[in-house]
Amino acid sequence: MISPGTVLFVSTSILAIAGALMTISSRRPLRAAIGLLIHIISLAGMFLTLNAHLLAALQLLVYAGAIVVLFVFVIMLIGPASEVGPIEGRLASRTLSIAMTIAIVLAVATTVAYFDAPWGQVADDFGTVEALGMAIYKQALVPFEVISITLLVAIIGAIAIARSRTE
């Protein structure tokens, strides 16, 4: 008997891999951004099978809503120069890097695929906004404040780096 969770996992994993391959293989950056969007949305669906409801919503808000839009803005800002010409030369190093990545991934994936542990019994509020918010504020208050300062510094740094030097 195939459970709905299995159907959701299989369909979202196929879409996630397809989106990732589209991201790294397309020449036009806008198509790569659309591939990234497909990847992110399908991963948000996969998070639902793992009882991570808040993280699925955050994935959609932060990644699909902010990061992909930022990428698209930069692609529009740069214009035609955002497309780098076809790859030429250095066939050996490129083939070698792809082959090494595939070898490492095959080794790791076939090893971890045998790891088995029963799914634990989850409480009713596992992964909800309330439960995760309580966990963040009770156990990770200092990291939470540090990450907010990190985001502030990143905003100021992005403005400082990207601003025009013409004064």
């Binding site: 740069i78 076939t110 695929a113």
Partner: protein, 100 residues
């Protein structure tokens, strides 16, 4: 679907991101590949948290990973724009200012 399937999928996604980062010369697509790798780590964290659901440690960690990814994208794209201003291209092979 056991946790092993999730882990294998996450390692495949990480490998795709790593291959994209190593083989592409377009800085935009390299930044997208970094996002792919950060996302695959989130899958592992959430899968392990689902197996050991006594606390929310994995989900809290994934939350911080998402926040760091947002900061990284903002700074990375700012560096890309500054680089484009200097070189009028985003080909990483042309980043040779420190080479000579």
């Amino acid at each position: 679907m056991g946790i092993g399937t999730y882990l294998a999928l996450a390692s495949v996604l990480f490998g795709i991101g790593a291959a994209g980062f190593l083989t592409r010369r377009n800085m935009l697509i390299q930044l997208m590949s970094i996002e792919l790798m950060l996302n695959s780590v989130n899958v592992v964290l959430l899968a392990f948290n689902r197996v050991y659901p006594a606390n929310h440690d994995g989900q809290v960690f994934a939350f911080f990973v998402i926040a760091v990814a947002a900061a990284e994208a903002a700074v990375g794209l700012a560096i890309l724009i500054a680089y484009y201003r200097i070189k009028k291209t985003i080909d990483t092979d042309d980043a040779t200012l420190l080479k000579y």
